[in-house]
Symmetry: C2
Subunit: 342 residues, 2 copies
Amino acid sequence: MKIIVDAMGGDNAPDEIVLGAVKAVNENNVDITLVGKGEDILRVFERHDIKELPPGIEIVNASEIISPEEDPATAIRIKKDSSLSVGLTLLRDGRGDAFVSAGSTGALLSGATLIVKRVRGIRRAALAPFIPNTTNGFILIDCGANAECTPEYLLQFAYMGSFYSEDVLKINKPRVGLLNNGSESTKGTSLQHETYKLLQNSDLNFIGNVEAKDAMSGACDVLVCDGFTGNILLKAIEGTASLIMSELKNVFYSNALTKLSALFIKSKLTGLKNKMNPDTVGGTALLGISKPVIKAHGSSKADAIQNAVKQAIREANCGIAKRFEDNIEAMKVSVDKNVAEL
Amino acid sequence: MKIIVDAMGGDNAPDEIVLGAVKAVNENNVDITLVGKGEDILRVFERHDIKELPPGIEIVNASEIISPEEDPATAIRIKKDSSLSVGLTLLRDGRGDAFVSAGSTGALLSGATLIVKRVRGIRRAALAPFIPNTTNGFILIDCGANAECTPEYLLQFAYMGSFYSEDVLKINKPRVGLLNNGSESTKGTSLQHETYKLLQNSDLNFIGNVEAKDAMSGACDVLVCDGFTGNILLKAIEGTASLIMSELKNVFYSNALTKLSALFIKSKLTGLKNKMNPDTVGGTALLGISKPVIKAHGSSKADAIQNAVKQAIREANCGIAKRFEDNIEAMKVSVDKNVAEL
């Protein structure tokens, strides 16, 4: 198993990316190809007192970097020698089993679609992060790749999320919910109304509309929505969690007794923080691409990169893209189906 | 000042509603008209050992109740003698200055629109809850009244939210943000693109697109969005807050030391819980109606009802509907404007 890692992407590149890769080869029985400016990567080893290139790690040079500020599609077209373009080309050519990047989400999406290509019949690739909740968490799909969606996109997201939940997360008959502003079937806009009917007539384990609040308490294993709404949901969760955690810090710092309390529960609180931290899980799967592509959080440190690599290994082992290919007919909305079902 | 209160709406009606009204007349220099089944209301006084009808409270009988399960528009049309219909009719006829209900949101919205009517020129009424955050909180508008919106609705929501923030919350030049999946002006769907241009050309203090996460850390005073997205945002905040609070409880219950810690920080933690609790603020303003209508949370207890009444007093004192009337021309998208700006 060989995972290709973009050494130049993310706020803490290249140091934390390289260190995460080293941890992964040492602990996770995997080979890693680091893609980026060779000299910069070698200097990371020097800085951290690693005398020799660790066995299992190879470096492929790429002279350019795509920054998050650049227009994704343009950057991918122009910067042929960027770490992202070179890494994705290696993946396409079979010189690795999966690709991990903490760089620009837009550029990764554009690059994966243009270079590695979508599974035939899949209309749009979607970002599918794992969201922790009171039970086993859930897959949110899409969470930002596609702001405007059709009911067919959402049907495909539902299938992709369900297969992912089953094959990678080992959930039996994943409960698929449609994110909506109420549980009644009449809720939402025309997008939700039409998608509801498609999901109801699919062979998925569709449990109906799910409100954001209920998703947080374990109502479903896969939560389907357009990328605009998914992004709002994800950012609201992140924003609220960080708001409460910072308020909590103020509570603990108020006086000597509260500081003492903080000491007693410190380790438990760290456990809670880890549970709420997306980095612990790994990265976000970009589903619908013909080979596994993982987006690690932009602020990833070494541990988060290692977790993203572990997730890439699980995905590559499952052959999730093959599962999409084998089931593509059920994932399409034919004209006949349209007439019969809508 | 007289506030009309729906005694039969909400999970804890009529007891908590009546007790909240009693607290308000005793503490907030206001008269209250309780609308509902007279006998049920009188029995609440008996149950709680209140011998006489407190001065400042009057009861208006209404024999029917609209439940949250009923279709809102149908219920309002058929149940002419419901507490909601009777209360809103009293408001329309000038027999009170504002109306408060913890009952069905949909029925309240339908009833207010049909009976009290919108301000002339306002296309849709919108729900505008106050959301606590790390700074002074913000007004979210719309949060569920209108799932499908046009750019003009959103322009009007922005104005209504801004006037409300200025007049009722006393915020100077409220910063108005458009909820979006990124801060760049190109983000979002066509709804956001067109609304962005309208807001940019308005005389509001428009600060651009705002992500859900940044709204939670104080990026704006008014956050504008369609009711579908606003509902997802609100429920995500509620769900995440309650998830973390319940996990926190587990942390504190783990052993003797952590239980001791809980004791030390109990009062401070209650403070945090109150800060995150929408009930502390009062109810949610239904803006765009020609007179003040307040939706209290369905689970409101006496304190929450009292706070909603206090909010109703503030709104009635400001004459917010008059402010909308006076500025209605700026809030309209004329054909000319459309051509020039879009």
